[in-house]
């Protein structure tokens, strides 16, 4: 398959050639949880720590200047990567969770007098049943603080958003709609335009949780037309400890700071403060400097490989995986069974050929201990979605640019073995 030389890419990721105890090769099918890191990112972080490290913004010496430049340079790279009209719209956070909390905190906040963020009894927040807990709990908090009502889109049996009640659900009372760009369980890629169009009609703001989209396909915020997107570094070959909130400049200007501390201020008196403009307004304290730099290099790496090529490779792998898994009797995919509007995250339940349910924890344990196959088992931080499907847990294989069809074949063999153990 052309466009992407997977064997060359695999050589960039040192962990992919390690052996697990007992001589098992590692088969890493858990990138939706967290991705592995290429040597380029590891080396850049090591180099910065060894030779250039200092605090950013406030250290007025040679190292301070180098660190600040590298940190701000990472912001430029990320802004370019997502097509942000301005670098100042890129806010570094700890992860996607913090990015979403930051936005949710701006709603119904007495410090924020902007009408668009006013939230109180009678107002509504709309999310969906397929969200990660990170895009549920912050909105529960916002509703509890303000007295607003939390509502959500349902999910169809196929694992798509049920938009049949869109016009009723998103209405004059709706202040914000927050939903996943791509589901971390179902693999579903949600269609944004109908929801966005309706939100615009009623004057609601729109946040996309792009944690599972930005790593896997070209994302251009100007093209998307939404107000905010959140994503997280560790799922896109970058380090953990760094995430991104992108927001439209004029909204960020209207929003109150989330955390208070050093570097987010303009001036401080004993009884009050004024604040720096975005992005620094939202980056209180010493930021994850080396992690931001690492994410900048991760973005360079993904750009070099090419996001369209990554998308195409994962598309082919996903088609292969869906086909191969569908041949296992007793395996039920939870989510779309075709590759249309779907990413490379495949969750499923498994029975023995005799119809006996095999618990995902048992599936994962045997795949890991016998074959070195790393999958995720459980509810994947999307408990309401699992309740919707009436199952406590699933097994999830999630693919990325470095995975191969051989690894999918190994998964299939592993699952047959699991069935034998419980058969």
């Amino acid at each position: 398959m052309d466009g992407l030389d997977v064997e060359r890419i695999r050589k960039d990721f040192p962990v992919l050639s390690r052996e697990l105890p007992g001589g098992r090769p590692l088969i890493y099918l858990d990138s939706g949880n967290s991705s592995q890191k290429p040597v380029q990112v590891i080396e850049a972080m090591r180099d910065h720590l060894s030779m250039h490290y200092s605090n950013v913004g406030r250290a007025h010496h040679a190292l301070g200047a180098e660190s600040t430049e590298a940190y701000e340079n990472a912001r430029d790279k990320i802004a370019a990567f997502i097509g942000a009209p301005s670098r100042d719209e890129v806010i570094f956070t700890k992860n996607a969770s913090e990015a979403i909390n930051l936005v949710a905190y701006a709603f119904g906040n007495p410090l924020n007098t902007d009408e668009r963020f006013r939230l109180g009894p009678g107002d509504e927040i709309v999310i969906t049943e397929m969200e990660h807990h990170s895009n549920i709990v912050p909105w529960q908090f916002a509703a509890q603080r303000s007295g607003a009502t939390l509502r959500w889109f349902g999910v169809t049996d196929e694992g798509r958003l049920d938009l049949s009640n869109l016009d009723e659900l998103v209405n004059e009372r709706t202040k914000v709609v927050a939903f996943a760009h791509q589901s971390n369980v179902l693999g579903t890629v949600n269609s944004i335009s109908p929801i966005l169009a309706r939100a615009r009609q009623v004057g609601a703001l729109v946040l996309l949780d792009s944690s599972q989209a930005v790593p896997h396909k070209p994302v251009d915020v100007a093209e998307l037309g939404v107000d905010f997107i959140a994503f997280t570094g560790h799922k896109m070959v970058g380090p953990s400890g760094i995430g991104v909130l992108w927001g439209k400049a004029e909204l960020l200007d209207a929003m109150p700071p989330f955390l208070g501390g050093g570097e987010m201020i303009e001036a401080v008196w004993m009884d009050r403060s004024t604040f720096a403009p975005a992005p620094h307004k939202f980056e209180a304290g010493t930021p994850p400097i080396v992690e931001a730099i690492g994410l900048g290099v991760a973005v360079d790496y993904l750009t070099d490989v090419g996001m369209p090529a990554i998308k195409e490779w994962e598309h082919q792998l996903t088609g292969y995986a869906l086909q191969a898994l569908s041949e296992i009797s007793g395996l039920r995919v939870i989510g779309p069974r075709s590759v249309v509007s779907r990413g490379g995250t495949v969750s499923f339940t498994l029975k023995t050929p005799g119809g006996f349910d095999i618990h995902p924890h048992d599936v994962g344990q045997i795949l890991d201990d016998v074959f070195g196959i790393a999958v995720r088992v459980g509810h994947h931080c999307a408990r309401p979605l699992h309740l919707r499907f009436g199952i406590p847990a699933t097994t999830r294989a999630s693919l990325y640019l470095y995975n191969t069809t051989d690894e999918i074949d190994a998964l299939v063999r592993g699952l047959h073995h699991v069935q034998k153990v419980f058969g």
């Binding site: 924890h361 045997i366 201990d369």
Partner: protein
């Protein structure tokens, strides 16, 4: 083939054919325990009559280890005395928390020795102990 040693035939047998499953009347105490890391749950009832465990009944959901452990617990505790059954719970707990270094007392544990391999998997120890901790809790509450 590390995990294979954890999935002993006896454990799989209990998982597929659980003994004493289902919630029954009468009972003195009912408890509900959850393992929040994996979502395994058990509801367990005990009926005690003059120092003897008249019944242990339960309903739950979870992995093979947690469900088989409940079944084995039922076999060992029901019909035994409260004192003896708590001695088994203590020995089982010692085995599970021993990180694979504890020699099990087969005399005391009976079928429960099949879980010895689980002790090497810290993430699964809680699964094995779920029903047993629920039982201990229920016995305390029944008195």
């Amino acid at each position: 083939m590390i995990a294979e040693s954890m999935y002993q035939e006896l454990i799989l047998e209990h998982y597929k054919h659980p003994q004493g499953r289902g919630l029954r009347e009468p009972y003195d105490a009912e408890v509900h325990h959850v393992n929040p890391t994996c979502g395994d749950e058990i509801t367990l009832r005990v009926k005690v009559e003059s120092g003897k465990v008249a019944d242990v009944s339960y309903e739950g959901q979870g992995c093979s280890i947690s469900q088989a452990a409940a079944s084995v617990l039922h076999e060992l505790a029901a019909g035994s005395t409260v004192v003896d059954s708590l001695a088994v719970v203590d020995e089982f707990t010692r085995l599970m928390q021993g990180r694979g270094t504890v020699q099990a007392d087969e005399e005391v544990l009976g079928d429960a020795v099949a879980f010895a391999g689980v002790a090497k998997f810290p993430a699964r120890v809680k699964c094995a102990l779920l029903a047993w901790m629920a039982y201990k809790d229920a016995v305390v509450r029944s008195s």
